[in-house]
Symmetry: C2
Subunit: 225 residues, 2 copies
């Protein structure tokens, strides 16, 4: 279970400050499939970054499996992130110098996997996102949607129990996007928790619950029938 | 008028090669509003990059206002690009070290505009995309959709006659996306030529003509009624 309790996030830039999240409280049950929607700048990526332990709240508490994340050391945090979380970034964050295969293998390298095992895992994942022929290419040699699919594959490498996806189909045509969403639905049916930011309603329908954000707050929550 | 004549683009990577565009012939009339759609990797961005003189065909010809672009020197090309074209990149390509205002002003700086004029032009454009309060912030301090809107504003700075937009609403919620598209429709009604890649059908409807690509070729063309 993932739980935010009165979480706020303020970004300070010199004299100015931006209230990215304001007093947000929400729980995510294990195995849930939730979409986070809302206008540009409403706090969706900020919420996902906090959930992914990539950032800390300015105030409020974040509990991961009952444990108060704010009491954890940075190395504790990154260890748990590595084991339990898979993150698909809005801007992909692929390593330009690494090939597709090496980008996908990254989490496994940090977890100490043997080279041949991580290589075959990367090949399996690349096939799942339709990029088997591009394993030795670098991100700059790929289209936007192909880069996005590498980011998806990398997020699944460590078989995470919680998948955090920030606009996973933003650069994909409907058909390819549906393939990725079918993959997500499949992982969810295996019990994985999926929290996904999307602005596309035909993608949000894969989720059982839809959280609508506005100006850093939760405006409303829709539960699918 | 913009015209591609039997244009092919092959990317060579060591022993491998990718046929990004295969024997494409198409014209774009002055003042048209055209959408380019198709699966991820089908050649949409490659076509836009060629149209935007950011890359050269491997074979075939590209005519811009009747002039064969392949006969132009690089500096001629970039001069014309600066004067006549506005490009919204799929990955924004904002300068991280520059503020929002400075990013928008970039084309005007190269065109030798006076500082105070380019500053007020940047303020006007930032207002048009709803970012007046963020002029002094840097891209890393912005949300994905806010960065995308800065990229839109920058593409319009030099008042181009041809606007090339690669997924201009990919990171925007429906409402904000519609605002950007209303802006595009307005510019088109003023006579500007707009060629836009999108995978979102509710965005493609703004275009009078829709070109569908598949594996580097034009698969079919739809004309709106
Ligand atoms: N610089 C490059 N080097 C090598 N191959 C490239 C390069 N740029 C693009 N390609 C390849 O050319 C093909 C077409 O790419 P393009 O970016 O035009 O696709 P696209 O239709 O824009 O895709 P998307 O919808 O995913 O953005 C893809 O297979 C891509 O991997
Ligand atoms: N590092 C940062 N520094 C300063 N302000 C930030 C930073 N990151 C985000 N913000 C601001 O916080 C607000 C929320 O940003 P966030 O990225 O969460 O929005 P979002 O809902 O994901 O938007 P989008 O749909 O455009 O991606 C925005 O106004 C943004 O400019
Ligand atoms: Mg975001
Ligand atoms: Mg593209």
């Amino acid at each position: 279970v993932v739980r935010l309790e009165s979480v706020s996030k303020v970004y300070y830039m010199g004299t100015q400050s931006v209230k990215a999240m304001v007093d947000v409280s929400i729980s995510f049950e294990e195995g849930c499939f939730t979409a986070i929607m809302g206008p540009s700048g409403s706090g969706k990526s900020t919420m996902l970054n906090l959930l992914g332990c990539l950032d800390r709240p300015t105030s409020g508490k974040y509990f991961l499996s009952g444990q108060d994340v704010s009491n954890m050391e940075d190395n504790e945090l990154s260890a748990m992130r590595l084991r339990r979380l898979g993150f698909i970034f809005q801007s992909f964050n692929l390593i330009p110098q690494l090939t597709v295969a090496e980008n996908i293998e990254m989490p496994l390298y940090y977890m100490g996997w043997a080279a041949d095992e991580s290589k075959s895992r990367a090949e399996q994942l690349a096939a799942m996102v339709g990029l088997s022929e591009r394993l030795d290419h670098r991100p700059a040699e790929l289209s936007g949607g192909q880069q996005q699919r590498v980011a998806v594959a990398r997020a699944l490498a460590n078989d995470p129990s919680v998948i955090l996806a920030d606009e996973p189909t933003g650069n994909l045509d409907s058909a390819t996007g549906a393939q990725i969403m079918d993959l997500m639905a499949d992982l969810n049916s295996q019990g994985k928790t999926i929290i996904m930011v999307t602005h596309e309603s035909h993608i949000a329908v894969y989720a059982k619950r839809r959280i609508h954000m506005l100006d850093g707050r939760i405006e409303r929550i829709e539960e699918a029938a």
